[in-house]
Structures are given as structure tokens and as C-alpha cells.
Symmetry: C2
Subunit: 136 residues, 2 copies
DNA sequence: AATGATAATGGAAATCGTTTCCATTAACAC
DNA sequence: GTGTTAATGGAAACGATTTCCATTATCATT
């Protein structure tokens, strides 16, 4: 665990947003100008592979990262994604009911398709408070 | 509706797979060598925007397209994505139960976050029949 | 301290799906 | 035909991520 890696993990742990590799680079750079973007990517891969960090794709062309649920204090959650401004809302309302059904669904799908499921992705798309008023 | 656009829609309608822009290009090219990849992308954008086609991202670095559910004969469905070979399985088992809960969840989330939800994305990730035996 | 083996690093260049530019062509009304 | 507009394809640009590679840090062994 080097200083650069520590810094990446710190930034993710401190932030309650979903950060891109470049976001992280920008936050680290003032304090550790020697840490390059390539290392950020490398470190993120490692953190994801050991399960400390989750990589997310909201369809904005760049991957975002958040602390894995074991460590993030808000537990497992899903996302609301605004197609207007790109805002992302974490929610865990109904998460219990959702997870119960998901579990059941996963079991049956696993059996039927002989598929080992180890993850799921659930996102709702639409327009947030601010963006829905105008047109469309 | 030009010949190139017709061809793109045809290919998507005929196929029961999830096709990338390049997949579509390759299928069309032998019959219409004059249709370029740029036009495929342009046409796909249009088809998506008028709701005939759905654009999907399974995290394989390129977008995939399928016929929108109104026209695809299999109705609304979700996806199982194999992280080994990239295979994608359409399923609609449990879709009724899932949709009922989703509807309820959407309503409450909409109210709570003042968010207009008009779409959702549900994918299960794991390893398919073929890929799960080896290691990991 | 010198040596050597190994892991980590950062910057430049490459990659690759997608978009943008732009000059050419098709379609259509008058 | 003339002019106006929409559609087209190929080349070039774009941008996030990866790959390459020469340099540097780490650390155990002499
Ligand atoms: Mn989140
Ligand atoms: Mn499908
Ligand atoms: Zn918004
Ligand atoms: Zn597979």
C-alpha cells in the first residue's frame, strides 16, 4: 500500500459522491502532484478487484467509483439517474423488499439458466426535481 | 425513410441477438456496400429517439441495440450478463412480480425525491453455464 | 554500502468506439 | 432547370482508458 494508493482510497472514502478517475486525480493532484492519472486507473482496478470499491457506469461515457457497500456506511443501495443534469441519487427505500424479490429471482434464474449470479445492477432513469419542469 | 435506414431497422428486427453498430454494419455491408458506418450510427440514434429501438450497455465497451419491446415479440425483459464470455440471456421469468414491485418502488421514489422516472435498467451479472466450471 | 531482483510508477503513445466536419449527392418544390 | 433542403459517407477529431517502456522505489542478500 503506497502513498498514491492510500490517497486514492482516502478520496473515495471521504467523498459521498460518485467520482470518475479524473475527479479523483484532480482531488489528489494538489497534494500529491507526483501521482499520475495512469496510477489512479491502476489503483482503481486493484481496489475494485479486491472488493473495496465499486465501479459504476451511468451511461455518461466515463466510469464512476464509490466505496463498496461494506464500507460506505449506507449499505447496499440502488441509483436514480437524471437524464437532464446527470445527477445521481442513492436510495435504499424499499431495498429490503427489492432485495427479497431479487434474491428469489436470482435463485430461480440461476437454476433455470444454470448461471451463477453474483451481482446485480438496478438503476432508474428519468428527470430530477430541477430538470423535469422545463419541456420534454 | 431511406434504403439505408430501412436496412438498419430490418437487420435489428430480424436478429434475436443484441447487435453493436459494427455488427449491424457488417450485416448490411455485403448487400449495401454504399452504406457507411456513420450512417448506421446516425440511423440508430434516430430509431432510439423515436422509440423503435433500445440502446443497451452491458459494460463491454460498445453499445448494443435491440428492438424495442413493443415490437420485439418477447415483451419487456431483463438481462443476465456473463462476465466470462459476454453472453447475454434475455429473461422474463418473474417479470410480472418484478414489474409490480418496480412500479410500486418507482411511485414511491418519484414522490419522495420528486423525480420523474420513465425507464429502468436491471441486469444480473455472473457466469454462465459454460464459463462457471473452470476456475474462479 | 554495493548488488541484484522485483514491484510500482508516470508520461507518452496507442487504442478504439463514437462524433464531428465537410464536401458531395439525393429529393423535391417551383 | 433552378434553388432549397435533407441525407450521405469518408476522413479526421475526440476522449476515456490501456499499453509501453524507461525510470525509480523497495527490500533482502552480501
Ligand atoms: Mn451510490
Ligand atoms: Mn434483450
Ligand atoms: Zn437533473
Ligand atoms: Zn459465459
Amino acid at each position: 500500500m503506497t502513498v498514491g494508493r492510500e490517497a486514492v482510497l482516502d478520496v473515495i472514502a471521504q467523498s459521498d459522491e460518485h467520482l470518475s478517475a479524473e475527479d479523483i486525480y484532480m482531488k489528489i493532484h494538489p497534494f500529491y502532484p507526483a501521482v499520475g492519472l495512469t496510477s489512479i486507473y491502476r489503483t482503481l482496478d486493484i481496489l475494485v478487484s479486491i472488493g473495496l470499491v465499486r465501479k459504476l457506469d451511468f451511461g455518461h461515457g466515463r466510469a464512476k467509483y464509490e466505496l463498496a457497500e461494506d464500507s460506505n456506511g449506507k449499505g447496499h443501495h440502488h441509483h436514480l439517474v437524471c437524464r437532464g443534469c446527470g445527477r445521481i441519487i442513492d436510495y435504499n427505500d424499499f431495498i429490503d423488499e427489492e432485495l427479497a424479490l431479487l434474491k428469489k429471482t436470482e435463485e430461480s434464474l440461476s437454476r433455470k439458466y444454470n448461471f451463477r449470479i453474483d451481482n446485480h445492477l438496478i438503476q432508474f432513469y428519468g428527470f430530477c426535481d430541477t430538470c423535469k419542469k422545463p419541456e420534454r
